[in-house]
C-alpha cells in the first residue's frame, strides 16, 4: 500500500508519521508542499506541526499551498485523506471537513495521553477495530472543536463524528474533555467518510517504550482495511 505525507514549511510530525507508516508496512513518500502533483497513493496524510508558523490562523496558509489542489481533488474523487493535529486544522481550513478548531479552553498548550471512543466503524479508518476505546496522545494549543448548531445536527445525522474524548471506560463528559471541544469531539469525517481529521497523534503510540501502543492497533487495522 502506498502512502504520501505532505511536508509544509513548519511541519514537525512529518518524520514521525513516516516512521509509523513505514513500520506498519506502507510504502511511504514525503511530498513537498510546493509540488503540483501527488504520486499514486492509497492514503494521503497531512501531518502535525506548525505549518507557516500557525501565523494568521492554524492551517490557513497551508490550506492554500500548491499541493493542496491535488489533495482536494484526490479527496473529492474518494481517495483516503487523514489530517492529524495541524493536519486536521489544515483540512478544516481547506473545507474538506466541517467546523473550526479554536484555542484550547484553558488557553494552554496540552501534551498528554487521552482516551478516545470510536463510535463509527462503518468507514475505512476504523472498520474491524477490536477496541472501542483507544489510548492516544495529544499535543496542541488549538484543538477546541467548534461548529454551528445546524452543522452539528448535520454532522450527527450523517454519523460524521469519528472519535470522542472519553475516560478509560468510554464515558464522555466535561471533566474528561481536555480542550473544550463541543460534544467532546476529537476527530471528524467528511460526509463520505474518506477524509478524517483528528487532534490525537496515533504515530506517537507505536511502541511499548513510548506513550503507549494503541497507535499500532490503529495503523495495523488501517493497513488491513486498505488492502
Amino acid at each position: 500500500m502506498k502512502s504520501s505525507v505532505i511536508t509544509f514549511p513548519g511541519s514537525n510530525c512529518d518524520r514521525d508519521m513516516d516512521v509509523a507508516l513505514t513500520k506498519f508496512g506502507f510504502k511511504n513518500k514525503m511530498i513537498w508542499h510546493n509540488d503540483q502533483e501527488l504520486p499514486k497513493s492509497d492514503l494521503i496524510v497531512l501531518p502535525g506541526g506548525f505549518s507557516y508558523g500557525d501565523y494568521l490562523r492554524c492551517g490557513s496558509m497551508a490550506s492554500k499551498s500548491k499541493i493542496m489542489n491535488s489533495v482536494i481533488n484526490f479527496a473529492k474523487s474518494g481517495g483516503l485523506v487523514m489530517g492529524i493535529c495541524n493536519g486536521f486544522q489544515i483540512l478544516v481550513e481547506a473545507g474538506l471537513v466541517p467546523g473550526v478548531l479554536l484555542r484550547n479552553k484553558y488557553l494552554q498548550f496540552i501534551c498528554k495521553n487521552v482516551h478516545v471512543k470510536v463510535d463509527n466503524k462503518e468507514n475505512t479508518f476504523f472498520k474491524n477495530l477490536d477496541k472501542k476505546v483507544l489510548e492516544f496522545h495529544i499535543a496542541h494549543n488549538e484543538g477546541n472543536y467548534f461548529c454551528t448548531n445546524d452543522q452539528l445536527k448535520e454532522i450527527e445525522d450523517n454519523n460524521q463524528i469519528a472519535i470522542y474524548y472519553c475516560d478509560q471506560n468510554g464515558n464522555t463528559n466535561d471533566q474528561i474533555n481536555p480542550n473544550g471541544s463541543i460534544k467532546n469531539i476529537a476527530g471528524i469525517f467528511n460526509k463520505e467518510k474518506n477524509v478524517l481529521g483528528m487532534m490525537p497523534h496515533p504515530e506517537r503510540m507505536i511502541d511499548e517504550s513510548l506513550s503507549g501502543e494503541d497507535g499500532s492497533i490503529f495503523f495495523k487495522n488501517l493497513l488491513n482495511n486498505i488492502k
Binding site: 514549511p9 513548519g10 514537525n12 510530525c13 518524520r15 514521525d16 516512521v19 509509523a20 502535525g48 506541526g49 506548525f50 507557516y52 508558523g53 500557525d54 501565523y55 494552554q108 498548550f109 496540552i110 501534551c111 498528554k112 496522545h137 499535543a139 494549543n141 497523534h201 504515530e203 506517537r204 507505536i206 511502541d207 517504550s209 513510548l210 506513550s211
Partner: protein, 729 residues
C-alpha cells in the same frame, strides 16, 4: 557623532577600558567602532571577570570531542555518533519580558547546537522565580512557561526535563536557563573557525531589525527601577523561521560547501563575524549595504549591534554560492553574500562605499579586558544545635504533607504538560522522572539528560554547594540507568564587582571542578550570567548543571515508579541525619543557618557505579535518588508514580525518626528489588563497601509508617499535585 569618554561610559565601558581602546587603536574610535567594542568587551561576551577562573574547570576526558570554546560541547556516544549540548541563560530579558525572553533563550540555545551540524533532539530548562507571595511571580512563571513552550513546541523538539524553584532571592531577578542536546555524526561536526582567503561570507535567515540592540550590554548590568524602559532591548522570537533555518542549514551541511558557521546570538553580526575571524586568525570585510534589513535607514551601528533572532553567518567554499542560495530559496529564507575573508586580520566594515570601521580582530578578542577580581572566601557555617524536643512535637504525616506540597517539591505537571515532550517519537522517559530519556533514532541506545541546581546549599557554603550540584545530576543519570558522560554549566551569580558574590562564584567553580574531576564527568560547555542583581540585592549563587549520560540498551532504562507488590526497598548510602539547610529545617523549623550536607566524592562515585552495576545485572526494578525532603519524600514520589504503597520498617537507627526520614545526606538512592535477589544484591553492595539499609516492602495503595501513621496513595497524590495547579488558577 564624535566619541568621547562620556559616550563610552554610557555604552557600559569603564573609563580605563575606554582608554585602553584608544591606546590599542592608536586613535579615538568612531561610534560604530565604539559600539563594537562595547558589545565585545561587556561581561556577557568577554567573560572578563570569569575567564581566569573558568580555566580551572575540569574539561578533559576520553569521551570529549569538543570542550568549552565552541558554540557547544561535543561528546562521543560510540558507533560514530556524537551528542552536541549546551546550556545558556536568558535571565535579564526574561524578567523584562517573560514570553519573548524565555522563547528567544530556547531559540538561541537550539541555534548553538544546530550550528554545529547537529539536529536538536531534546530541550531542558531550569527556571527560578521569586517567592510565591511576590506579586510578580505568577505572571512571570506563566509567561516564561508559555515562551519556552511556544518556541520549543513549534520547532518540534521535545522538552524532556527541567527544574523549577522558588526563592525570595529571585524576586527581582528570575533565572531562565535553557539547554539543548543535538545528535550528529562524529565526522560531520561543523565549527566556527574560518579558513582560507577571499572566501565568501554569507548571511542567512531572518532580516536584521532594530530589536535587541545592546541586549548583551543589558545582560551585563544590574537592574534598577527603570528596568521597564529596557523592553526594547529584548529580542522577539520567530520559531517558524528558526525551524526553516534548521532544515535549510542541515540540508546545506549534508554537502561540502561550508567552511565555518556561527549563529548570530548575543551581539549579533559583531560577535559572529569577529569570532570566526579570530579563530581562523584572519580578517573579514563586510559590506553592510548587503545585509538584509527589515527596517529602512538602519545605520552601520544598528546593523552591527542588532540582536534580531534566527540569523546565521557562514563562510562558504568559493563557488558554492549558487548551491547554497538554492537551498535557502527553497526554505524562503534570506540569503546574501555580504563580504569575504581577508588577510588583514582586521574587521573592516563598509557602508555607502565608505569604510565605517577598521579594527584589528585581536584587540577585540585576545586583548579584551580580563580581571582578577577580589573575592572573599566563605567559612563553613557552624552546625545548628537543634533542640531535639522540637522533633517530638512534629507529626510525620503533617510534616510530609507540608513538604510534598511545598513549591519546590510539588509536582510540576502544570508546567511540563505545556511542553510537547513526545514529538520526534523517541521520548522514553517523560518529565517528572529523575532524568529525561530519548532514544537515538533507530538504534538501541538512549541519551539521558537532567538539569539541576541547589542555590540554598551554594549560598550556605559555595564550595560544598558546587560539588553537590554536580553530584545531584550524576545521581539523576545513574537513577535511570545511564552512564554519566559530561556536563554543561550555567553559572548564575550577582555582581562580580562585590567580593562576596565573586567569592561565591570562585568557590562554586572550584567545587564543580573538583566533583567533575573526581567523577570523570568533565564540563564541555557553558555560560556565565553575572549581575543578577536588583537595587544592590543579588540572587543566591545558582550554578546550574546539565548532565548527560548514555544508556547502551534502552530496554534497560530504569524509572522511579514502584513496580511490584512484595518487592523490597533498600536505601543505598548512609543516613547520618543532616538537617541543616534541608527543606525540613527551612520550611518546618524556620531555621536558615548551618552548613549544607557534606559531599563525600568517594561515596558518590562508589555508590553510583555500584548501582549502575546492579542495573546492568537487571536486579533493579525501580530507583530514585534521595534529595530535597529526604527519604520519605523520595519514597512518596515512588509510591505516587507507581500507584503502590509501602510498609516501612522501623529504622534501627539511634537518630530520631524525623531526622531519619527528612535528612538530606548526600550520595543516597532508593532501589526496589525482588526479594529473591536480596542475597545477591547484598553481596554486591557489601563487596563494594556500599552502606545500605532495608526501608520497607511494597504493598497495595497505602504508605504505612507505623500503626498510627498511615497515608493512602491518593492522599500523597493530592498533596503533591494540587499546589501548583491551584496557585496558577
Amino acid at each position: 557623532m564624535s566619541v568621547n569618554e562620556k559616550i563610552a561610559i554610557e555604552h557600559g565601558l569603564k573609563s580605563d577600558e575606554y582608554k585602553k581602546i584608544c591606546k590599542l587603536l592608536k586613535r579615538t574610535p568612531n561610534i560604530t567602532e565604539l559600539g563594537i567594542f562595547s558589545a565585545m568587551w561587556n561581561e556577557h561576551c568577554s567573560y572578563k571577570s570569569s575567564r581566569i577562573h573558568l580555566k580551572k574547570l575540569h574539561t578533559k576526558g576520553k569521551k570529549v570531542i569538543q570542550g568549552p570554546g565552541e558554540n557547544a560541547g561535543v561528546i562521543d556516544i560510540e558507533d560514530g555518533d556524537a551528542i552536541v549540548f549546551k546550556i545558556e541563560s536568558h535571565n535579564h530579558p526574561s524578567f523584562i519580558e517573560p514570553y519573548q525572553g524565555a522563547a528567544t533563550g530556547v531559540g538561541g540555545i537550539m541555534r548553538d547546537v544546530f550550528t554545529m551540524g547537529a539536529r536538536p533532539i531534546a530541550n531542558l530548562n531550569s527556571i527560578h522565580f521569586g517567592s510565591t507571595q511576590n506579586k510578580k511571580t505568577k505572571n512571570l512563571l506563566r509567561g516564561v512557561v508559555h515562551g519556552i513552550g511556544g518556541y520549543g513546541n513549534c520547532m518540534g523538539v521535545p522538552t524532556i526535563a527541567g527544574q523549577t524553584s522558588f526563592d525570595r532571592s529571585y524576586n527581582g531577578n528570575i533565572l531562565v536557563n535553557a539547554m539543548t542536546l543535538g545528535l550528529v555524526k562524529k565526522d560531520k561536526i561543523f565549527y566556527s573557525k574560518a579558513a582560507g582567503l577571499n572566501k565568501p561570507v554569507i548571511y542567512v535567515g531572518s532580516k536584521t531589525g532594530r530589536d535587541g540592540i545592546h541586549g548583551a550590554s543589558m545582560a551585563s548590568a544590574s537592574f534598577d527601577e527603570k528596568i521597564e524602559e529596557k523592553k526594547p532591548t529584548v529580542q522577539v522570537g520567530d520559531p517558524f523561521t528558526e525551524k526553516l533555518l534548521l532544515e535549510a542549514c542541515l540540508e546545506l551541511m549534508s554537502g561540502d560547501s561550508i567552511i565555518a558557521i556561527q549563529d548570530m546570538g548575543a551581539a549579533g553580526l559583531t560577535s559572529s563575524s569577529i569570532e570566526m575571524a579570530s579563530k581562523g586568525n584572519l580578517g573579514i570585510e563586510i559590506n553592510l549595504n548587503k545585509v538584509p534589513c527589515r527596517e529602512t535607514k538602519m545605520t552601520p551601528y544598528e546593523i552591527m549591534l542588532s540582536e534580531s533572532q534566527e540569523r546565521m553567518l557562514i563562510v562558504l567554499e568559493s563557488g558554492k554560492e549558487e548551491i547554497a542560495k538554492k537551498i535557502f530559496d527553497k526554505w524562503n529564507l534570506d540569503f546574501a553574500v555580504i563580504g569575504k575573508t581577508t588577510n588583514t586580520k582586521n574587521i573592516q566594515l563598509f557602508f555607502d562605499n565608505k569604510q565605517v570601521a577598521n579594527i584589528p580582530v585581536n584587540t577585540l578578542v585576545e586583548n579584551s579586558p580580563m580581571y582578577d577580581r577580589k573575592w572573599k572566601k566563605s567559612k563553613l557555617p557552624k552546625k545548628n544545635k537543634i533542640n531535639k524536643t522540637i522533633f517530638k512535637s512534629l507529626k510525620i504525616k503533617d510534616t510530609l504533607k507540608k513538604i510534598l506540597s511545598s513549591p519546590n517539591v510539588c509536582s510540576k505537571e502544570w508546567i511540563w504538560q505545556q511542553y510537547d515532550h513526545t514529538v520526534m517519537g523517541d521520548t522514553i522517559q517523560k518529565p517528572g522522572g529523575d532524568s529525561g530519556v530519548v532514544r537515538i533514532h533507530k538504534t538501541n541506545k538512549a541519551i539521558a539528560a537532567t538539569v539541576d541546581s541547589s542555590a540554598t546549599y551554594c549560598w550556605a557554603h559555595p564550595l560544598t554547594g558546587g560539588k553537590q550540584v554536580v553530584c545531584e545530576t550524576w545521581r539523576n543519570l545513574i537513577s535511570v540507568g545511564a552512564k554519566p558522560i559530561a556536563v554543561t554549566n550555567c553559572l548564575n551569580f550577582g555582581s562580580p564587582e562585590k567580593e562576596e558574590n565573586m567569592g561565591e562564584f570562585v568557590e562554586c567553580v572550584q567545587g564543580i571542578s573538583e566533583a567533575c574531576k573526581y567523577l570523570d564527568y568533565p564540563v564541555v560547555s557553558g555560560n556565565v550570567s553575572f549581575y543578577n542583581e536588583t537595587k544592590d540585592i543579588g540572587i543566591k549563587p545558582t550554578p546550574t548543571i546539565g548532565g548527560v549520560g548514555l544508556i547502551k540498551d534502552y530496554k534497560k532504562m530504569i524509572t522511579m515508579d514502584f513496580k511490584e507488590i512484595d518487592n523490597i526497598v533498600l536505601v543505598i548510602g548512609k543516613t547520618e541525619g543532616h538537617i541543616d539547610q534541608s527543606l525540613l529545617s527551612r520550611i518546618i523549623l524556620n531555621e536558615n543557618n548551618g552548613p549544607p550536607p557534606e559531599v563525600n566524592l568517594f561515596n558518590e562515585k562508589n555508590n553510583g557505579l555500584t548501582l549502575l552495576n546492579l542495573i546492568e545485572k537487571s536486579f533493579i526494578k525501580s530507583a530514585h535518588d534521595v534529595s530535597l525532603g529526604g527519604i520519605i519524600t523520595a519514597i512518596s514520589k515512588m509510591c505516587i508514580k507507581g500507584n503502590k504503597g509501602i510498609q516501612i520498617k522501623k529504622p534501627k537507627f539511634l537518630i530520631n525518626e524525623i531526622e531519619y526520614f527528612f535528612a538530606e545526606d548526600q550520595g543516597r538512592y532508593l532501589i526496589e528489588i525482588n526479594p529473591k535477589d536480596l542475597e545477591e544484591v547484598s553481596k554486591i553492595l557489601d563487596k563494594n563497601s556500599v552502606h545500605y539499609d532495608e526501608v520497607g516492602k511494597i504493598i497495595d495503595k497505602e504508605m504505612i509508617i507505623d500503626q498510627k501513621t498511615k497515608l493512602t496513595i491518593d492522599e500523597l497524590k493530592s498533596y503533591n499535585t494540587n499546589w501548583l495547579k491551584s496557585y496558577m488558577v
